[in-house]
């Protein structure tokens, strides 16, 4: 924001205010306007904000929120991911590095697998292994790597407290560095977000 102009003399023919008083009034007006703009979410100095919801626990659906959040942080934006329901799998100590992608009813698999084959035992494991292999060959970071980078870059990782309770997940089952909150806290963050996505 540019510097404000010199305070104008009071109009209306009344006695002119002293320069000190004018400066004081101008400063007060400036502070109040800035405060009001900020309250309205119009602070031009405020960084852009990205609020993401991760609701799926499969390998393919773990990537988009993590890639977007880490990229947002790299672009000087504020980012938070709210992990809810199956999305909590992404931040479970035991699952984070072993997420799976189901071949069943998934016609988008690069190697198409008929559903009748997809139901066989071991097929989900095989499809997951294949996807991890493509990602590795493509130079894409793993999910645990992305989570580490998210934390390093200040992305807030918020676990949905209600999902924890409903699914019987304990806090110690989850990775370190998480916050625990509900819809209210997420919406408070998202209310001032410029980008909000549900994955």
């Amino acid at each position: 924001m540019s510097h404000h102009d010199e305070p104008q003399t009071a109009s209306g023919g009344g006695p002119a205010l002293s320069p000190e008083l004018q400066a004081l009034i101008a400063e007060q007006v400036r502070l109040q306007v800035a405060g009001e703009l900020k309250r309205l979410g119009l602070d031009p100095a405020r960084p852009k904000r990205v609020a993401l919801i991760a609701s799926k626990g499969t390998l393919d659906m773990a990537y988009p929120p993590l890639i977007l959040a880490t990229t947002a942080a790299a672009m000087d934006m504020e980012a938070a991911i709210f992990f809810t329901f199956y999305g909590l799998e992404i931040v479970k100590k035991s699952k984070s590095a072993h997420l799976k992608v189901p071949p069943l009813a998934n016609p988008a698999m690069p190697v198409p697998m008929p559903n009748i084959i997809g139901v066989l035992p071991g097929m989900t494991r095989m499809a997951s292994w294949m996807m991890q292999d493509w990602m590795k060959k493509g130079g894409v970071p793993t999910i645990p790597d992305l989570l580490d980078m998210a934390k390093e870059n200040g992305v807030r990782l918020i676990a949905c407290q209600m999902s924890l309770d409903v699914l019987g997940i304990k806090k110690e089952d989850l990775l370190d560095g998480l916050e625990f909150a509900g819809a209210g806290a997420f919406l408070d963050f998202a209310a001032d977000a410029d980008i909000t996505l549900f994955v």
Partner: protein
């Protein structure tokens, strides 16, 4: 030969989204204002991502040079 004289070169060959941006942010943080970073990479997506990054972070995207399948990107710190 290149028309820019970078103070630092960052190797992003083999990296794909989101790595080039994350590495760029880290490298740029260590440069002084006005210094130039060269990013050597193979990700064609970076041709759009790095100008967007520069625009968003207030740094200057100077341009890129192609050498077969290898790209050289030049950024100047604000």
């Amino acid at each position: 030969m290149t028309k820019y004289t970078p103070q630092r070169t960052l190797d992003c060959r083999g990296d794909v989204c989101p790595m080039p941006l994350l590495k760029t942010k880290k490298a740029m943080a260590e440069l002084a204002s006005g210094e130039i970073l060269e990013i050597v990479g193979t990700d064609p997506g970076s041709k759009n991502d790095l100008p967007a990054w520069a625009n968003r972070t207030g740094n200057l995207y100077l341009g890129d040079e192609e050498e077969g399948s290898v790209f050289h990107f030049f950024l100047q710190k604000k």
